[in-house]
């Protein structure tokens, strides 16, 4: 009986899944490599930056900004999945919320690592307590708190419930954190608000090609996020199924 469940599920994912999943993954890889090409080679230099070191380092932003975008998107998504989970109480929504947080954590780690590497040649310090850096750090800490909370609860149903509550509460704290920290002080260049960059150090004008490259990279990272989510959710659901079977077979 159990073998039948196992093998039938396996063939199902292999017949429908592998082909779609493989195509999707190869497509994502292709898009990411294109983004890499655009960011490193195709995009023009930012004209108003003085030293070559600064001009090269500026190219980090083509991957840094999309990674931050995906990080926030993942957080928002996990809050939404958590709300749906609390209403519908279906495992898959909890699996999606957890996956979104994990993927978001990976992207935020990229942001946290690449940010200082850009800041060093541009601002001549690795770290400043600038609002965007600070808010990214807080998000990163919230994600870690979420993972730690899940790790500290034994009952799986309670784990899902508490994690959902925490994800929702923390998603509300992000905008307030953002506002409060922004008023505290700022030096990060406001790249998105084009035209008004001269005030903040390290800012640069957005020529059309620079903007197009950035837009392509944001789209590429979003596809990357969806692809990672797809695999992570599949893995999580499979893990839970195996867990159930294990209990079924071992403690029968």
């Amino acid at each position: 009986m159990t073998t039948k469940i196992l093998s039938s599920q396996q063939t199902k994912t292999e017949v429908n899944g592998i082909s779609f999943s493989a195509v999707f993954t190869i497509f994502t890889g292709f898009i990411m490599l294109t983004a890499l090409y655009l960011a490193l080679i195709w995009a023009p230099d930012a004209v108003n930056l003085l030293t070559p070191t600064e001009r090269y380092a500026q190219r980090i932003f083509y991957f840094h900004v999309p990674a931050a975008w995906v990080g926030f998107l993942a957080f928002l998504a996990s809050a939404l999945f958590s709300v749906i989970y609390l209403i519908k109480r279906q495992q898959k929504w909890d699996a999606m919320a957890l996956s979104s947080v994990e993927v978001g954590l990976a992207f935020f780690t990229m942001v946290m690592l690449s940010g200082p590497i850009w800041a060093k040649p541009t601002w001549n310090v690795w770290w400043t307590w600038d609002p965007r850096l600070t808010i990214s750090t807080i998000c990163w800490l919230l994600y870690i708190g979420y993972i730690m909370l899940r790790g500290a609860i034994d009952n799986p149903e309670r784990e899902a419930r508490f994690a959902a509550v925490f994800a929702i509460v923390s998603s509300f704290s992000i905008p307030l954190n953002w506002l409060a920290i922004r008023w505290w002080r700022t030096i990060h260049p406001a790249i998105v608000a084009a035209g008004s960059n001269d005030g903040s150090e390290g800012g640069f004008g957005m020529s059309p090609d620079i903007r197009n490259t950035l837009i392509f990279c944001v789209v590429a990272f979003t596809i990357f996020y969806i692809n990672l989510m797809y695999h992570r959710v599949k893995l999580e659901l499979m893990k839970r199924r195996v867990e159930l079977l294990k209990q079924d077979i071992l403690y029968q």
Partner: protein, 49 residues
């Protein structure tokens, strides 16, 4: 070349983070696969008995 060191380091850490995450998923998948195989063996034995 020296001017590109930050650029190189920036992209290196970004891809490193991505691959660490992907490899963690792969390793979890593999351990899951092992569990499934073990369960299959167990049920096989039970059926044989």
């Amino acid at each position: 070349m020296n001017e590109m060191i930050y650029l190189f380091a920036g992209y290196a850490v970004i891809w490193l983070a991505a691959f660490v995450f992907i490899f963690s998923m792969v390793s979890r998948q593999q351990s899951l696969q092992k569990d499934v195989e073990m369960l299959e063996q167990l049920t096989q034995q039970k059926q044989d008995v």
